[in-house]
Symmetry: C2
Subunit: 199 residues, 2 copies
Amino acid sequence: MSPTPRALERLLQEFTKLPGIGPKTAERLVYYLLKQPKSELEAMAASLAQVKDEVLTCTSCFRFTDQNPCPICTDSRRDKTLLCVVAESQNIPVLEKTNAFHGLYHVLGGVVSPLNGVTPDKLKIKELEARLKAGGVKEVILALNPDLDGETTALYLAKIIKPLNIKVTRLARGLPVGADLEYADEVTLENAITGRREV
Amino acid sequence: MSPTPRALERLLQEFTKLPGIGPKTAERLVYYLLKQPKSELEAMAASLAQVKDEVLTCTSCFRFTDQNPCPICTDSRRDKTLLCVVAESQNIPVLEKTNAFHGLYHVLGGVVSPLNGVTPDKLKIKELEARLKAGGVKEVILALNPDLDGETTALYLAKIIKPLNIKVTRLARGLPVGADLEYADEVTLENAITGRREV
């Protein structure tokens, strides 16, 4: 049995470290890359090596950005009384696309998840408190995933924010567009009933 | 609407070029990488930049290897009268694991696929002919995928090899281990019937 070339094996290992990439997918990617011109691989390598240096973190909202403070935090047209709390930087573009929110953001950097070793002190919660205590914010919208960790984090944050006399809301639960009542799960349907709105 | 940082956008584009990686998967990978220590990213970048230089192609069988000629081609214990033709280098480790084959290999570098612009002259078919004409090979096993392109390639190769008075065989078709007759498709079942063997 003849081994895989060492350099190839090393690259395979690098790829299998990525989330959701198993040994088979890594193999497909690496053999694909090996067939590409060297310039392509060098471009990708350069991008990888530079990304950490070139991408900044906004010291106000903690999202990834080109400028610090980021263009959202410095935009004078945005409503500074509304603060939307998200788990990750990548949640912001999706919310921005809706055009339904014109306030500021705060990125936690994850959700409270004791099983995965993520305790509240590892998130930007202290920083959120400081921002709220500085005044001006009237409502905090918790835009977290509707799952166990998201719920835990929302409850934890609500407990901290409410004593500051700031309104705390969360994204509505109910049927997504295009859903079929017949296939909706019980919890979603329950949320849709309890959260019903007058037409 | 605030844009994604440029360096991040660039890395996203590099990842979406990879086969089977869509914009969402690329986003997941890139944001994951951004949270890793810089040393991790640099290690991956170095691996990527080096892989093309360090991985050699065996000038005899055309597989990726650390040494040229590769350890299989130079192994005196292997049966030089048997030649197994595969489409890609990565097919070899799987065949080696079976321990059912002890001959030499020949990597085509793909399969004939006119729709994808892969004509026979783009594959190592001339080189295969030269190897066979040099003499010594008694049987060529075509280990190609049992799909349209694999079949086309097998027929094309058989037409070239048979006039050289060399036996041409292909991998057996039939039911895979653990299959359920009830769910087997017609072609597989037909292959299993026509290729039946005495117990």
